[in-house]
Symmetry: C2
Subunit: 506 residues, 2 copies
C-alpha cells in the first residue's frame, strides 16, 4: 500500500508534468511564431497563445496543488532539501505561494500593461519619442511596486522582484559585487581607450556568405557539444534559445553578410544555453530537478561558451583554418593573431546588445542602479533619460544623442521585466568563477581547446551544474563548486589577463 | 436582452471555436513533427499529442454541448439548413450525436489498435510479411464493424463509415458511379497499353537540381493562387497539407533530384488543397460554415489543379519557358509536346501513389471493393492478398510479386481508416464535373491558362465551393453547381479527350 504522502507526491508530479507538456506546446507555438509563421497568421497565433496561457494559469493555481503540498510539507519526502523529492516539494511550494500572493486583478493589470507597454515602446523607439512611452513606464513601475509589496520582502523591495529571476539572491549582495566590479572595470576600460594599440576590426566587416556562415556556426556549436540530434538551429529576428521537450532544444540566430561576429558568437551563446538545457536530467523534465536554476546560471553557461571559450586564442587555433577555408576572400590573408585581436575589440558603445565582453557589464550596472531608484520612486520618470545619459558618461565616457539608442533601447521594462538585468552580469561573474575552478580540476583548458577537445569542460559543467537542475540554488552552487561566495575578482582577472597583452597595458 | 437561444448559440460557438484553437495547436505540433522535429524528440511529442487529444476529446463531448443544442434545435436559428447558423447547429448536432453513440471503450480500443496496427504494418511492409500484420488487420475490421453498428445505418454497414469522410454519401451511389467508371476505364487503359505511340518518359528522369525545383514549384503554386502570405511550403517524407489557423495553411513536398514530376505535381496538388483552405470564410474559422465539406470535395480541388490544370497543354504553354530556363541541361532540347506527352504517360502500375491520372481510379476501385467485402466478413483476412492481386490482374493486367507493393502498400487500413479510399475517386469525378461547368460559365479555360490567367477559375471555385464551407453537402454542391447528380461521364470524356490524340486512339 502506498502511503498518503507517496500518493500526494505522485499526483503532484503527474499534474505538474502534464502542465509542462502543455507549456511545451505553448513554447512550440511561440518558437514557430518567431521562426516560421506566415505573415498574415500573427493575430490568430496571438489569440491561441492567450487561450493556452489561461489554461496554464488555471492548472498552475489549481487548489489541489495546495492540498498535495499540505500533505507533503512535513513528510519524509521533503526532508532533504537538495534531493529530487525535496527539491520538487520546496520549489513547487515556493512557486505556488508566490502565485497565491498575487491578486488576480494585479496579475491581469500587469499583463495588460506589459502588452500595451511593449506596443508603446516599439512606437516610441521608432520615433525616438520617450514622452509617449513615459506614462506606461510610470504605470509599470507603480504595478511592480504593488507586486513587490504583495509578494513581501525583508531588506529591499527590489529583492521581491529579483527573486523571480534569481531565486534566493539578494539586492545587497548583487550591489556589493557589481560595485566592486565597477571599481575595477571603469579604469580598465579607460586604460584600453587610452591605448594606442587597436585591432583592425574591418577584418570582421568584409563579405561573409550566409551559407558558409551557417556551416561554420553549426560546426562551432557541434564542436562545443550542442546536439542536433536533440535540437535545431533556425533563423529569427531576435535570437533566443527555447526548450520544447527533454530532447528538443532549439536555438536561433540572424545572419549579417557584412559582419562575421553576430551570427557566429550568437550561435555559440545560444548553444551554451542549449547545452545546459540538453544537460538537465530528462527523467525530471517539467519538474524542478529537471529545470534550470536561475537566469544568472543560464547566462553563465551561454557566456562561458561564447566568451571564455569562443573568444579565446586556443579555440581559434582549432577552428581558424576552417574559417579561412569557409571565407577565403575575407580571411585568407588575415593572420590568426589579427583575427583574435579583432574579435576581442573593446570600446565603449551605447547599445548593450552590441557591447564587448568588458564594457557589457557597465551597461548592466547602469540599468541595475536606475531600476532600483525607479522602483524606490527616487527618480521622476521624466528624468530617467537624463540620468541614463549621465551614467553612460560617468562609466563609459560617452553620451547618447537619441533616446532610441539610450533609455529606449531595451524591451525589458516595457514588458514588465524589472529585476531581470542583473542576471546578465551575474552570468558573466559566475562563468569566470566556474571557469577558474574547472581549470583547477581539469588542468589548463587552452591546450585542450586547441586540439578541439571541449568534452572535458562540458562534462565538468554537466556534473557540477546541469545534472542538479534546481536541487541547489545559484549561490549554493557557486559555494559548493568553488568553495567561495560570488566575487568580481575572477572576471576582472580574466579580462585583464586577456586584454592587457593585446592592448599593451601594464 | 438576448433570447435564450441566442445566448446558447453564442456559447456553443465560443466553446467550439476555443476547441478549434486548441485543435490548431495539436495540428501545429503534428506539422512540426513531420517537418522540423529533431530525431530524438519523437517520443515526447507523441506523449504531448496524446495529452492534447484527451483534452480535445473532453471538450468535444462536454455535456453543455448537448444542452445548448437542445435549446437550439427548434429555434429560428436552426430553421434554414443552408445558412451559417443552421449549418452550425445541424453539423455540430451530427458530430455530437456521432460521438455520443460510440462507447468510450470502443474509442479507446480503436485508438490502441490503430497505434499498434501502424507499427505492425510498418514492420510487415519492410519485411514483406503480410502474416504478421494479418491479426491486427482482422482486429481492425472487427472493431470497424462494431463502430458501424454503434453508429447505425440504413442500407449498408459501410455507409456508417463512409459518412465520416463524405457526410451524406451512400455506398450504393458510390458503387454505381465507380462501376460505370470501371466499365469505361478498363477498355481505355487497355487501348492505351496496346498503342504503339509512347512518350519518352526518360525526359522526366534527368538531373533536376533541388533549389531550381523548389523555385519552379513555388512559382507554380503562386501562379494558381496559393498565398505564401498566408501559408508555407516545407519538406517532408509523406507530403500533406494542414491548416493551423484561418490565415495559416502549410503545404509540404519531397524532392527527387532524378524525377521532375513528384515534387512539381505534388506541390500543385497540395496547393490545390491549400487554395480551398485559404478560400474558406475566415470569420467562421473553427465552425462548420468555415470548414471543408468532405474529403471528396477537398480532393476535387487538389486534383483539379494538379491534373485538369497542371497536366494541360495550356498550363505548360505558360510555364514551360520557365521550366526550360530552370533546367537548361534537362529540358533545353526537349519540345513542349514531348514534355506534355511525358507528363501524361499512362501505364498500369502496382503502386497507387505513383499511378497516372487514368489508372489511379482503378487502384481506388480495388480498395473500395475489397474493404466492403472485408467489412461484410465475406473474405477471410488470410485471402486478402490473393484477392488484391486477382483484382489488379483483372482491372490493370498486372500482378504484384510482393505484398509490400501489393496489399501492404497503403497506411490507411492499419490506421483504422476504412471508407476513406473512395473519397480519392470521388475527388477526381467531382473535379471533372466542376471543370466542365466552369468552362460553361467562364468560356474555354485553356487560352486563359496559356496567358497565365488562373484567377477566373480560382474565383469561380471560391464563389461556388470554398465560400460555402459546410453549408451544402458534397452531393448538394454537385447538384447545385452543375444541375446534375455525380456522373462518371465527365472524367471519362476528359481522359479520352486528352489521351486519344496523344496515343492515337480511335
Amino acid at each position: 500500500m502506498k502511503k498518503d504522502h507517496e500518493t500526494a507526491f505522485d499526483d503532484l508530479c503527474r499534474h505538474t508534468r502534464e502542465t509542462a507538456l502543455l507549456a511545451a506546446a505553448e513554447s512550440a507555438l511561440a518558437w514557430d511564431e518567431r521562426t516560421m509563421l506566415p505573415p498574415a497568421a500573427a493575430e490568430f497565433r496571438s489569440e491561441q497563445l492567450t487561450l493556452l496561457a489561461g489554461m496554464l494559469h488555471a492548472r498552475r493555481t489549481d487548489k489541489r496543488i495546495g492540498e498535495w503540498l499540505a500533505i507533503l510539507g512535513d513528510s519524509p519526502l521533503a526532508a532533504n532539501l537538495h534531493d529530487p523529492s525535496g527539491t520538487v516539494i520546496r520549489e513547487l511550494q515556493r512557486q505556488y505561494e508566490r502565485r497565491l500572493k498575487l491578486p488576480q486583478s494585479l496579475v491581469e493589470e500587469l499583463a495588460r500593461t506589459a502588452s500595451l507597454g511593449q506596443h508603446a515602446w516599439e512606437q516610441a523607439r521608432a520615433k525616438d519619442d520617450y514622452g509617449t512611452f513615459a506614462p506606461l513606464l510610470a504605470k509599470t513601475f507603480e504595478l511592480k511596486r504593488a507586486e513587490a509589496d504583495a509578494l513581501g520582502y525583508q531588506a529591499a523591495r527590489y529583492d521581491a522582484l529579483l527573486d523571480d529571476y534569481e531565486p534566493g539572491e539578494r539586492t545587497a549582495n548583487v550591489a556589493r559585487v557589481l560595485a566592486s566590479l565597477r571599481e575595477a572595470l571603469v579604469p580598465l576600460v579607460a586604460e584600453i581607450a587610452a591605448s594606442k594599440k587597436k585591432p583592425d576590426i574591418s577584418i570582421l566587416q568584409r563579405e561573409f556568405s550566409l551559407p558558409a556562415q551557417e556551416t561554420l556556426a553549426r560546426r562551432g556549436a557541434e564542436a562545443i557539444g550542442f546536439s542536433f540530434e536533440r535540437g535545431r538551429l533556425d533563423v529569427t529576428a531576435h535570437p533566443f534559445c527555447t526548450t520544447l521537450g527533454p530532447k528538443d532544444c532549439r536555438i536561433t540566430t540572424r545572419y549579417d553578410e557584412r559582419f562575421f561576429s553576430s551570427a557566429f558568437f550568437g550561435v555559440l551563446h545560444e548553444a551554451g544555453h542549449g547545452i545546459y538545457e540538453q544537460g538537465l536530467p530528462a527523467e525530471w523534465y517539467g519538474l524542478p530537478p529537471g529545470e534550470a536554476v536561475s537566469l544568472g546560471i543560464h547566462e553563465s553557461q551561454s557566456r562561458l561558451w561564447e566568451n571564455l571559450v569562443g573568444r579565446s586564442r586556443a579555440f581559434w587555433q582549432h577552428l581558424y583554418p576552417d574559417a579561412q577555408k569557409a571565407f577565403p576572400a575575407a580571411l585568407g590573408q588575415t593572420t590568426l593573431e589579427e583575427f583574435y585581436f579583432a574579435i576581442n575589440d573593446v570600446r565603449p558603445s551605447l547599445v548593450r546588445v552590441e557591447a564587448d565582453e568588458a564594457t557589457y557589464n557597465l551597461h548592466i550596472l547602469i540599468r541595475f542602479e536606475l531600476e532600483q531608484a525607479m522602483l524606490a520612486d527616487e527618480i521622476p520618470i521624466a528624468d530617467v533619460p537624463a540620468a541614463w545619459n549621465d551614467k553612460y558618461e560617468e562609466y563609459l565616457g560617452i553620451r547618447s544623442h537619441s533616446d532610441a539608442d539610450g533609455v529606449l533601447q531595451d524591451v525589458h521594462w516595457s514588458a514588465g521585466l524589472v529585476g531581470y538585468f542583473p542576471t546578465y552580469a551575474l552570468g558573466n561573474l559566475y562563468a569566470s568563477q566556474f571557469f577558474v575552478q574547472a581549470e583547477k580540476d581539469l588542468g589548463a583548458l587552452g591546450p585542450q581547446f586547441a586540439r578541439g577537445e571541449f568534452a572535458p569542460l562540458r562534462e565538468w559543467l554537466n556534473k557540477n551544474i546541469h545534472q542538479h537542475g534546481q536541487c541547489y540554488s545559484a549561490s549554493d552552487l557557486v559555494q559548493k563548486i568553488t568553495g567561495k561566495p560570488l566575487s568580481h575578482d575572477h572576471l576582472i582577472a580574466h579580462l585583464r589577463g586577456k586584454l592587457a597583452p593585446l592592448y599593451g597595458l601594464n
